[in-house]
Symmetry: C2
Subunit: 360 residues, 2 copies
């Protein structure tokens, strides 16, 4: 039986990917040179589509890396000389902080209790922190910041750089990118692609910061430092041979999403999220993990399980529906359900019905 | 018309890749969790196949990165505290040296004239150089070191680490990996896969060196430092979500290569290389770029063109055969022809016939 994946990444492929993959093979996309016109056209299309889909303001650039994890390291190299400040809401925001420390820089932080987000209005951030890191949607816990909280931080700290993790948020949730200086995501979440590609958005202030560090004699990394990425991106190229196939697929999936319309994708996201939250409320096996309703993620819905999560996951899997376990230590006590653009209303309704008719 | 790519990477896909890709999609490989048993089995198979195909000695570990370019940076972070020494035979060996410098470490070097390799017996390498870098097959110029030269360096410098670039060499050329401490390649050359995956081989001395640097307080990078890669690889996992699809394809292509037999692949490589060199000798449009015959690469055959290379490339492309231009400044004056395992004897014979019947 062909299964449907509601795991929070890698997840179900976007429903058009299989066709695009066939076209890619038929037209030799994996064999083309990354220094030739065919590749440059893919790069350009991909970049224009992302800018359009996310309504990026003027002056924001898009770079391609191998993952969002790589972007954490590139931000730590290019945008932080001494110190950063991190809102830690779970395992992924924590990992970024650790990467900054690994590069022998000081990573200050405020940590939220599990299933909550840090109350941004109560946090003291020293002026010495060059960059403030926020994670819009913490994929490990399903806790989501509000857009207003990002704006609050922007207003309070106009001089500092703000980095926003939009992994598993973009493009399903509307984000005002003009309020942040850099943002990033990987493609195996909402974009429904195979893993192996990260997208890094930076504004002019980031470019200036990296050049300032470089001119002071700091190492800002090598082939994937901002000046190298920028210089090559102006020619619609990358510093090293990239994951050309995934860039092609991303250019095609973003085209499909633009045709469908980002408003429609977000309306459906909201409907499906509401249905999943309702399902948790109704199920005798589940309770909400994120107590404060406005902080419940729309794209990564997390529930406590009143029995071992294995049993629920196995029962649904027998019916062809694959949901995720809890993250890390919560593996057996929680489930995580992805609500990405590829998951249709009908599929989420089916999943909801199956969850509500569980009898274990 | 479906074309045949003899470009030196990205190149023609290995002839079984299309079928493996169909199986991957049918069995949901892009959707599986990189923390689950199905992925661990792919990791394990891939690693065992590579070890077997390359006859790696005991005590050598295999890690997965996003590219060979990334490996350059990881070597510079993990294995060099202050100084390395580089044999520079062309653009790619030069790039590694530049990456070491970018990380504010000292990269000493000896450079060969274009189309030659550095005479290793005449080079003075200071004892202060912690790592010696050699490039077996310089993909930009088609100049190849001899195995005996690697052994000479090993004997002369038993204490220093030796890093061997085997991009576009492995597995087509036999290499005695026991003579080096680390080696690496990307999969879009001889392995005939889409770009977006690098393979990094390290021995115990590399692991010790990275731990020594870490314990001294040096930064050795973050998620892709050797201790992290090693710790996760023991569980057949990776520190971050990798290019799962490419790892699956690599596990399958290496399985196919093992079935065919590495000796057969190398015999065919030698036959096809000899035919291509003969073709250069016979063609009125081509001359050998690498003057010294034993240093002519078997897998990346480079020729000077007596007319603009564009014309030769266009004429062959009209007949469905795509060869590469010269690298960088030699773009118009040279051609580069890949001789990878996917290129059959019949295909190379066809290419040879077409080159010898050119009338421009």
């Amino acid at each position: 039986m062909k299964k449907l994946y509601f795991t929070p990444g890698p997840s179900q492929l976007y429903f058009t990917v299989e066709e695009h993959l066939k076209t890619a093979i038929r037209t030799d996309i994996p064999s083309i040179s990354h220094r030739g016109k065919a590749f440059e056209s893919i790069f350009q299309q991909c970049t224009e589509n992302i800018k359009s889909l996310l309504s990026l303001p003027e002056g924001y650039h898009i770079f391609y890396t191998s993952s969002a994890t790589e972007v954490w390291e590139r931000i730590a190299q290019n945008l932080i000389a001494h110190e950063s400040f991190h809102f830690v809401n779970g395992a992924f925001s924590e990992k970024f902080k650790t990467i900054v420390s690994n590069l022998n820089k000081s990573a200050l932080f405020q940590e939220a209790p599990e299933g909550e987000v840090v109350d941004v209005s109560s946090v003291l951030i020293p002026e010495s922190s060059e960059l403030i890191s926020m994670t819009f949607n913490e994929t490990s816990t399903g806790a989501m910041h509000q857009s207003s909280e990002i704006e609050l931080i922007r207003t309070a700290f106009p001089e500092q750089l703000i980095a926003l993790d939009v992994v598993s948020a973009a493009p399903s949730v509307e984000i005002n990118f003009s309020k942040v200086d850099t943002a990033y995501f990987s493609v195996q979440k909402c974009f429904g692609l195979p893993a192996g590609l990260g997208v890094w958005i930076v504004n002019e202030r980031c470019i200036e910061k990296s050049l300032t560090l470089l001119n002071k004699g700091n190492s800002i990394g090598s082939y994937h430092c901002i000046p190298e990425l920028l210089s090559k991106s102006k020619k619609n190229q990358t510093p090293a041979t990239p994951n050309v196939l995934n860039m092609y697929l991303l250019s095609k999936v973003t085209e499909d999403m633009l045709l469908k319309g980002i408003d429609q994708i977000r309306l459906e996201t909201n409907y499906k999220a509401a249905l999943l939250q309702h399902t948790i409320s109704e199920s005798p096996y589940l309770t909400h993990f994120v107590a404060n309703a406005p902080n419940r993620s729309k794209t990564t819905v997390v529930a406590n399980t009143l029995i071992n999560s294995d049993k629920i996951i196995a029962e649904l899997s027998n019916n062809g529906l694959v949901i995720g376990s809890g993250y890390g230590n919560s593996k057996s006590e929680q489930v995580r359900i992805a609500n990405f653009p590829t998951h249709s209303k009908e599929q989420i309704e089916l999943l909801s019905d199956q969850i509500l008719s569980l009898n274990i």
